[in-house]
Symmetry: C2
Subunit: 290 residues, 2 copies
C-alpha cells in the first residue's frame, strides 16, 4: 500500500450508492464541490430487492427496482459518475483523508459514509489481523501472496473474478463461498463448504478455524461489500452497530459525516435521502471553516 502520494484532492468523498449516497452526490454536484463517489454496486441491493415502496413521498406505489432506477437515472442525468469499487480503508492523514479503493488511493478533505446497515459482522480475529495477513482488497494486496497458501472468504458472487485472480497468484487457495450458487473456475481452488468461526495467529494470521477443524494459511482475503464502519475508519464512534452522529450528521471525527441506514433506525429511504442532503451541507460548512 502506498498511501497519500500523487492523488487528486477532492472536497468530498462519498462512500455508498444507496439513497443516502445518491442524495449526497446530487447535492455535492449542485453545490459545485469537487467530489468522488464510490459504491460496490451501481445501485443499492436493498432498494432493488424491495417489492413495493409506498412511502417515498412523490413516487406512490413504486417497486424497489423502479426506485433504484429512478435514483440512478437522476444522478446520471446530472452527469454524476459512480466509481464502482469497494473502499477498504479510510485514513486520517494530516488533516485530510486518504481512501483506499482497488489498488489506488484517493484524497479528500471530507468524507460522507453512506454504508447502509452492516450485514455481516466481523468474525473473531478479523479486525485483530487486518493488515497483518488479513486483507479486504484482492487487487491491492494479492501480489504479496505469490506462491503462498491463502484462504479467500467471499460474501457475494460479484467478487468471484477476484477469487480467480487470487487463485492465479497463490500456490494453494482455500475458498469459502458464503453465498448460494457459486461458480469458481480456478483449478487450484479448494472449495470449503464451511463457515469460518475465527482467525488466529501470532504476529500475523496463521489459521482459519471452522466448526470441525482449521487450516493453516499465509494470508486471508475477505471479500465483501459491507465493511463494518469501525473497521473502515479507525477511531469512528459506533454504538449498537450504528455510526453515532448528531443532527448535522457529523461523526466524532471532524470532517467525517454519515447518512442513511448506517446511522440507525428508521431504515427508510426518505430518512436516508434527508440525511444525505444534511451531510453535504454540513461537509460544506466544515470546508468553509477549515
Amino acid at each position: 500500500m502506498n498511501i497519500g502520494n500523487n492523488a487528486d484532492m477532492y472536497d468530498i468523498a462519498i462512500i455508498g450508492g444507496g439513497p443516502a449516497g445518491v442524495s449526497a452526490a446530487l447535492n455535492a454536484k449542485i453545490l459545485n464541490k469537487s467530489f468522488i463517489w464510490f459504491s460496490s454496486r451501481s445501485t443499492s441491493k436493498k432498494v432493488e430487492r424491495a417489492e413495493l415502496v409506498k412511502n417515498y413521498p412523490g413516487l406512490p406505489d413504486i417497486s424497489g427496482s423502479q426506485l433504484a432506477w429512478a435514483l440512478k437515472n437522476h444522478a446520471e442525468s446530472m452527469g454524476i459518475e459512480l466509481r464502482e469499487e469497494v473502499v477498504t480503508g479510510v485514513y486520517d492523514t494530516d488533516g485530510k483523508f486518504t481512501l483506499l479503493a482497488g489498488n489506488k488511493d484517493y484524497e479528500a478533505k471530507t468524507v460522507i459514509l453512506c454504508l447502509g446497515v452492516e450485514t455481516s459482522k466481523p468474525f473473531e480475529g478479523e479486525e485483530e489481523f487486518l493488515g497483518r495477513g488479513i486483507s479486504y482488497c484482492a487487487t491491492c494486496d494479492g501480489m504479496l501472496y505469490k506462491g503462498k497458501n491463502i484462504a479467500v472468504v467471499c460474501m457475494d458472487k460479484s467478487f468471484e473474478h477476484e477469487i480467480e485472480f487470487l487463485c492465479g497468484v497463490a500456490h494453494t487457495c482455500a475458498v469459502f463461498p458464503l453465498y448460494n450458487g457459486y461458480e469458481i473456475k480456478a483449478q487450484n481452488a479448494q472449495i470449503m463448504l464451511k463457515t469460518p468461526t475465527k482467525y488466529t495467529g501470532d504476529m500475523r494470521v496463521r489459521q482459519v478455524h471452522f466448526k470441525d477443524g482449521k487450516i493453516d494459511v499465509d494470508g486471508v482475503f475477505i471479500l465483501k461489500s459491507a465493511i463494518s464502519p469501525a473497521t473502515l475508519v479507525h477511531g469512528l464512534e459506533v454504538k449498537d452497530g450504528h455510526i453515532v452522529v448528531d443532527r448535522t450528521c457529523s461523526t466524532n471525527i471532524p470532517g467525517i459525516f454519515a447518512a442513511g441506514d448506517c446511522t440507525g433506525r428508521p431504515y427508510q429511504y426518505a430518512k436516508a435521502v434527508g440525511e444525505g442532503n444534511i451531510a453535504v451541507h454540513s461537509a460544506i460548512e466544515f470546508l468553509s471553516k477549515s
Copy 2:
C-alpha cells in the same frame, strides 16, 4: 372556546401540509394509526413557488408545482384526507393534546409539528395579549365581538373571507392587509395601508400602533397561516426561531415531535421528508410506551 369535550381521540395529529407533513401522513397511514392532518393550504406554498428542484432524489429537474402535485397526489392516492384549516392552539391537557382549529377542537395522543419556516415574527404585544383581546381564529372568537370595534391584521389573501365575516359581526373594523392585491368587499371595513408596530393595553388589548398613529380597539384578529411555534404550543423550546429537536425529532414536550424546515437548516425537501418519516416512527414508539 370549549376545550377537550366530545372530541374524537386520534393517535397522531399532524400540523402542516408541506413535504414533512406529507411524509408524516403517508407513514401514519401505512403504519395503521388513527390520525388527523391539518394544513392552512392544500399544498405547500413554498414548494409550489419553487422554479426548479434539482435535488429531490428520484424526480430530476421537477418544477415546484409538479413536486407539490406529486406529493398531494401521493397522499390522495392512499385515501388520506387533508383538513384545510389553521390550527390556532395546541394545549397539553392531562396527558393528551387538544388542538383548536376553526371553531372545533380535536384530541390526539401525539402531535407532529411540520410548520415550515416562520415567515412573520409576532409583533410587540402579540403574544402578551393573545387570549386577552388578540385572537388568531375568526370563526372561534368572532362572535365575542358583536357590535364592537375591532382591528383585523391579515397576512394572506386566502383569509379575506374571514375578514368579511368579522366585519359583518363587528361595529367598526379596521383592516390591515399586509399583502398585495387585496379585495375586501365589507362596507364597514376601514382599510389601513399601514403596518402595525405594536399592540398595547391593560388587562386586555386596547390599541393598535403604527408608524404615525394608533387606533383604539376592543379586539384584534391576526389572520396568518404561520403561527410561531412557541405561540402555538405553550412551553415549546425554540432557539433562533427553530423548534429544538433531537435526532428522533422529539421536542422538549413528551409526545410532541417536529419535522421539516421548522426544526432548522438545511431548508430542503429531502431533509423535510426524512424528518416527517422519523417523527412518525418516534411518535409510534412514544404511543407504545404510554
